[in-house]
């Protein structure tokens, strides 16, 4: 091999975890194949997803090359900026589809809640790392506040899906930071107790989604339609599926959002139970790798980040597949690495970039 190419290769792959990369690439390729089918063989759409992937890969590579302690320095400014933007949204945000989620900055429209998906766990991990030497109850209370302020702002938009995802990513940080079992138990019990209160503050459409989960046939053309059609897609796929490009539910347009949030229904219809098992297997490999990186991470910050990123990734997978298969209400959560869309792809790979950074820089520290 030419030394120049070798150097280039080393520069590129130095901080890349090849196991994670391979699993990710298999999932992404699978996603492109499903997208090709789900978009009615629209190559332009697949092409634009390839661009999304390319951008996300560059982000991943770039982040992987930043050592964790450098990343920590972004935590506070990123979090504060996100919070300011969220308040901006609450005050001046644009309303689309009945929710105030976007902020028009003149040049471009942004959705600050996306930023918070990374900023919140980063901030919390940074905070715990700073106070590692003496973690007390007060610290957990402050952490809870750091977590809850943006979550409530986002839930108010309303964007329950994102709020839940951010809340869980923050919760995982707290959990891995060693939140005592007593408090966890207490949270669990008070959570159960506050369900009726939670119910009363839910928006009508959110209640409807929960109700249709119990019995989707109640409103088959309204709120239940998504769930019914996606369950039909899954069920009719059967054990081995209808074959790639042969899903009738997707191709005849019965499935809503079939390139984004409901792409799993297309996958499942065409590849069946076997395809689903394979997909869960791949996700499990990614998660296992993430957990093992967390287990071997040298600093509290990197452990918390790795743990939270991995668990959040799992949450995405579970919530999306649960929603499509009708055991969870319909919330706007994409299927990681498969759903069409640049934002979620970048968020995912950015997370993986942090995982890789944690993993590869640990080695460098050792040597």
């Amino acid at each position: 091999m030419h030394p120049l190419i070798r150097r280039l290769h080393r520069t590129l792959s130095n901080h890349i975890d090849s196991f994670l990369l391979i699993c990710t690439m298999i999932l992404i390729s699978l996603g492109l194949a499903v997208l090709f089918s789900a978009s009615d063989e629209n190559l332009a759409k697949v092409g634009s997803q390839v661009v999304n992937i390319a951008v996300a890969c560059v982000v991943m590579w770039a982040i992987a090359n930043v050592p964790p302690h450098q990343l920590m320095r972004f935590a506070l400014p990123l979090y504060v900026a996100g919070l300011v933007l969220l308040i901006g949204v609450a005050l001046f945000g644009e309303i689309s589809n009945g929710a105030r989620r976007w902020l028009n900055l003149g040049i471009t429209r942004i959705q600050p809640s996306e930023l918070m998906k990374i900023a919140v766990p980063l901030m919390l991990a940074w905070y715990f790392d700073r106070h590692e030497s003496a973690l007390g109850l007060k610290n957990y209370a402050i952490a809870a506040a750091i977590l809850l302020v943006p979550v409530l702002l986002i839930a108010r938009q309303p964007d329950l899906g994102t709020a839940i995802l951010i809340a869980s990513s923050g919760f995982f940080v707290l959990f891995f930071a060693g939140l005592s079992w007593k408090i966890l138990g207490g949270l669990f019990v008070s959570g159960l107790a506050s369900l009726p209160i939670l119910w009363s503050v839910l928006h009508d459409y959110q209640k409807k989604r929960l109700l249709t989960l119990i019995d989707p046939s109640q409103d088959p053309l309204g709120a239940g339609y998504h769930t019914i059609q996606s369950m039909i897609a899954l069920g009719s796929g059967g054990p081995v599926g209808k074959g790639w490009l042969h899903g009738t539910q997707a191709h005849l347009d019965f499935l809503p959002e079939h390139t984004t949030d409901f792409i799993f229904a297309v996958f499942s219809e065409e590849f069946g139970l076997i395809g689903n098992l394979f997909l869960i297997f791949l996700y499990s490999l990614v998660i296992a790798r993430g957990l093992s990186i967390a287990a071997r991470a040298p600093t509290l910050f990197s452990r918390l980040m790795a743990g939270s990123i991995t668990m959040t990734f799992f949450t995405y997978c579970f919530v999306n597949m649960g929603m499509v298969s009708g055991i969870l209400p319909v919330v706007g959560v994409p299927l990681p690495l498969i759903s069409y869309g640049g934002t979620s792809m970048v968020t995912m790979l950015l997370g993986f970039g942090i995982l890789m950074s944690i993993h590869t820089h640990k080695k460098l520290v050792k040597t």
């Binding site: 060693g178 009738t248 539910q249 005849l252 347009d253 019965f254 957990l291």
Partner: protein, 632 residues
């Protein structure tokens, strides 16, 4: 604090962290297994169920409307057929501003004010999700012009549709009826009959006449395309096809040429005519004048035309042959005569003296004969030939109403004939029981007297009168009058003849029948009341004239036709059959406000018989009259 730092040793912290990681892994495993079991439930256990649901989603059944069966006359001439035409149709629920859309459309396709009026009426009668024609029979260039601009008109489409056409229009409407758009009442009937599936895709249904009564046969069996559809219902491809079966071909007993002659013979008179073959009950001609063009109803009639038809004093929508009741007048007398003979009230040779009126014993009321001063000595034969009223006043009094009712009802008076189209009235053949039921009054002897001459409570439909005449002509053999000769099953190709229409034979002495026949033959000879019917005919005609009063004439007043408004003049009636010895045609004619039966109805009967028995067209005669006209 020191203790606390000691507790927080690195190893222990790592162990705690790894424990939580392990717990997380277990948590993940649990939830992934939950998902897997959900997948197993949906994709293996419930697979068949969801497969069916997906198929139901995907596959839609599209009905293919069958061609409606043809209707032919007895000689195979087509009376009702179908033609295919492009129609411009609007689905009102898909159009925002209907008026604006129609205005816009008229830039590409000619839309006349009457089209708009017709559309308005359709709109009132239909559901907004139905596709309603605004224009029918588009020209090819109109189709092309619209097709280019179709995208500008959501909810507007061009369809190729089959339309019903009645080539003879008004001539055939009394018995063919017509088809019209299915309305809510029709839908209820279709549902009740369990035919809902077969009417998917059908817009029209028989509303009257043969079209209505033979709807089942004419409609045919709807075919179905199995098509794959997308979620918006658009067809993607056809999976299988189950072709429709056309409606059966219905052949009528009507002779359309005879029908035409009869219709023309009426000229401008209103009235009705029914001609029956007395040997089997086949209806040869069935006229109601004036008629209406049934083609108007097929494409949906506009309000103005509808109002014009409905409000016309000539009542063109009234089926006078079937759905109108008139006093039979003197045409009732031959049946009365038979009642007198068969019930031994009078023998053929019994004579009465006619002073020009009849009185009931002990009453001063005069039941007047039409001839002031009377007919002198009258026996049975003469009573029919000169149509003596006094003879029948007396006979009615002798028999009494219940005997009259029981005997004469055998000729079908007072009840429906059972003809194979709907809308028939049953007329009135009065009895004491009937009066009690109808008016809650007892029957008076005075009520019986006018019944003897077909007045009073007597009412018949022209169809009933023709049926009775046919029974008379066939020496008491009653055949149910019917319009359908056979139905050709489109599926099997088998021709099913209408089952024998024989009903019953009347128990009447043949000699009495012969007496009445010979008198009726003499009615058409010089000295009878209808000499023009028999004049110069190479066959003998038996007939009886009648005159039905439209308004009552007071005691002591005289009926002078010229003094009375045309619409209150008497109705002219005639019953006849020929040849008298072996009758092949029996008929009843009613001419509204036609005055005397022999004069106005006679020539009509003669033209019919000449054509039917001799193949002689009336044209020659008409021309002769035209040539002679200036000389008068």
């Amino acid at each position: 604090m020191k203790e606390k730092v000691e507790i927080r040793d690195h190893q222990r912290e790592m162990r705690a962290f790894r424990l939580r990681l392990g717990l997380s892994a277990g948590f993940i495993l649990f939830f992934f297994l939950l998902l897997v079991s959900r997948f197993f439930y949906l994709q293996v256990i419930q697979h068949e169920h969801f497969k069916t649901l997906a198929e139901n989603n995907r596959i839609s059944i599209v009905p293919i409307t069958p061609n409606r069966g043809l209707i032919l006359d007895r000689n195979g001439i087509v009376l009702a057929r179908n033609f295919s035409a492009y129609t411009l149709e609007i689905t009102p629920s898909k159009v925002k501003n209907l008026n604006k859309t129609i205005d816009e459309l008229s830039k590409y396709v000619e839309i006349s004010p009457s089209d708009k009026r017709r559309f308005r009426r359709l709109l009132d009668d239909s559901h907004s999700f139905e596709s309603l024609p605004i224009r029918t029979r588009l020209k090819d260039e109109e189709v092309a012009r619209f097709a280019v601009n179709n995208f500008r008109f959501p909810g507007v489409e061009i369809h190729a549709r089959l339309f019903r056409q009645y080539p003879d229009g008004e001539l055939t409407s009394p018995f063919l009826g017509y088809i019209g758009r299915i309305n809510d009442d029709d839908l209820d009937k279709i549902d009740a009959a369990g035919d809902t599936a077969n009417y998917k895709g059908t817009d029209y249904i028989g509303k009257m006449g043969i079209e209505q009564s033979f709807e089942k046969q004419l409609h045919g069996t709807t075919g179905f395309d199995q098509v794959e559809v997308d979620s918006s219902g658009r067809e993607v491809r056809t999976l299988s096809r189950n072709p429709p079966i056309s409606g059966d071909i219905v052949t009528l007993t009507i002779d359309s040429k005879l029908q035409e002659i009869a219709e023309k013979a009426f000229g401008d008179f209103r009235g009705a005519l029914v001609a029956i073959d007395p040997n089997n009950g086949e209806i040869l001609a069935f006229v109601s004048k004036p008629g209406f063009d049934p083609n108007l109803f097929v494409e949906g009639i506009d309000n103005q035309s509808w109002q014009a038809l409905n409000n016309s004093p000539d009542k063109p929508l009234l089926n006078r042959a079937l759905h109108a009741e008139y006093p039979p007048g003197s045409t009732f007398k031959p049946f009365m005569a038979l009642a007198g003979l068969q019930l031994h009230a009078r023998s053929p040779t019994d004579t009465i003296s006619d002073p020009g009126y009849f009185e009931l014993p002990g009453q001063s009321h005069h039941y007047r004969d039409w001839k002031p001063g009377g007919h002198g000595m009258v026996d049975l034969h003469k009573s029919i030939v000169v149509s003596c009223d006094t003879y029948y006043y007396g006979l009615a009094n002798l028999l009494g109403i219940d005997k009259i009712h029981d005997f004469i009802s055998q000729f079908g008076f007072g009840k429906k004939t059972g003809i194979d189209i709907g809308g028939e009235l049953s007329g009135v053949l009065p009895s004491a029981e009937w009066k009690m039921k109808r008016y809650k009054q007892k029957w008076y002897a005075g009520d019986t007297i006018p019944v003897g001459i077909g007045q009073g409570y007597d009412l018949v439909t022209p169809l009933q009168l023709a049926f009775a005449t046919a029974i008379l002509a066939s020496d008491g053999n009653a055949y149910k009058p019917h319009l359908v000769e056979s139905v050709r099953n489109s599926k099997t190709g088998k021709i099913e003849k209408t089952a024998s229409a024989f009903l019953y034979k009347l128990d009447i002495d043949p000699n009495y029948l012969a007496d009445v026949r010979s008198a009726m033959v003499d009615v058409t000879k010089p000295g009878g009341t209808a000499p023009r019917v028999g004049e110069g005919a190479p066959y003998e005609v038996a007939a009886k004239t009648g005159t039905a009063q439209v308004i009552g004439i007071k005691q002591g007043e005289k009926y002078v036709a010229s003094n009375i408004q045309e619409r209150y003049r008497d109705h002219a009636l005639l019953i006849a059959y020929a040849p008298a010895d072996h009758p092949r045609i029996a008929l009843a004619i009613l001419v509204e406000n036609g005055g005397h039966g022999g004069t106005t109805a006679g020539p009509i009967a003669r033209q019919l018989m000449d054509y039917y028995l001799l193949d002689k067209l009336p044209q020659e005669k008409v021309n002769q009259e035209k040539i002679n006209a200036p000389a008068d």
